[in-house]
Amino acid sequence: MTEQELKEIWMSSSQAERIQVDLSKLVMELKNKLNHIEKVIRNRDIREIIAAFITIPMFAYFAYDIPFPITRVASILTIVWSVYVIYRFRKLQLSKKNEDLTLPFKAQLEHQKSNMMAQHRFLDTVLYWYAGPPFLLNVAFILGLGNPDIFGYSSGLKEHLPFDSGSKITLIVLLAAFYAFVVWLNKRAVKKTLNPLIADIQRIQDQLEEE
């Protein structure tokens, strides 16, 4: 068996099937596929940041309506945090779109690893930017709710706010459980998905480097 014979076996492998290309339809189908994928990505982006967009007008109203100073400051800071979250999501999505499949194999692997590492940092640090800050702000918001009679607060919203200690503690515990679950989900994604992928890319990079 010579190398030339192996090459002939290899080259003949494409003769198993004939590839028929309807060129008149192909470009139209490719455009449709691109449009479809862009639509799916756009919808996903909207879903991811919609929660933050809902938060902004909601807490703007709280800041306007609720007279208690600490709660008001917490509401304003929650709006600032929401803007930051939108910025973080957009930044990650933009970096993901910059995939260049025309790069050499080695450079493409490096590029993939950088993308994965960015996602790793994004998910692994959710406690510090996605879960922790809103939890602390929510706690400040709840504990800042004082006696409505002293402030003469009589808005319709008053009925839905926790003013007694029991309601405050219950709500804080529920929020703590919710944010802990968010952190756990993200840490799990890092462990189960991203770490193995980064290790796989690193393995191929090491294979390429070895002689």
Binding site: M1, E3, L6, K7, I9, W10, M11, S12, S13, S14, Q15, A16, E17, R18, I19, Q20, V21, D22, L23, S24, K25, L26, V27, M28, E29, L30, N32, K33, L34, H36, I37, V40, I41, D100, L101, T102, L103, P104, F105, K106, A107, Q108, L109, Q112, L197, D200, I201, R203, I204, Q207, L208, E211
Partner: protein, 173 residues
Amino acid sequence: MENFEHQHNAPMTFEQVLESNKEKIYRISRVYAVAPLEPQDLFQEVVYQIWKSFSTFKGNSGIDTWVYKIALNVCQRSKLKLDKGKEKTVRLDSLQFVLAEVGPDKSQQERYKALHDCIATLNEADQSLLVLLLEGLPYKQIATITGLTENHVAVKMKRIRKLLFDCITPKLA
């Protein structure tokens, strides 16, 4: 950047690029397709990526080199399941795969299976290099596609050849 391919006087259209490269894309797709993904799915994805990137082709390297880079990157991404969750359900009816009337005979099929099995025993990086070697590319072009130096490719190929022949010789004896 080196230009390894035949120089075209007029720029090639996407259709011409596809027509002259479809068989090599299919051969590479056959190696990388892992169930439930079919070679046809990978082929479609490579064609899609070529079409999407076609306007960015600057001609610094030849079109063949450019196509090989995309094919290898798409196939490798698929193997790592990096595109998991990405929308790929739109099927291209304009690409049809029809069993050849006079395809490879049983002996040729067995020889290909032996080669395919031996390629599968190599690590991912060696598989990529071997596929390019079997395509008949010179080391210089393989170096451009992979981003390794020509000397590095030569050293690795020596080892890959040995692994391949150690595997395939008993199978085809």
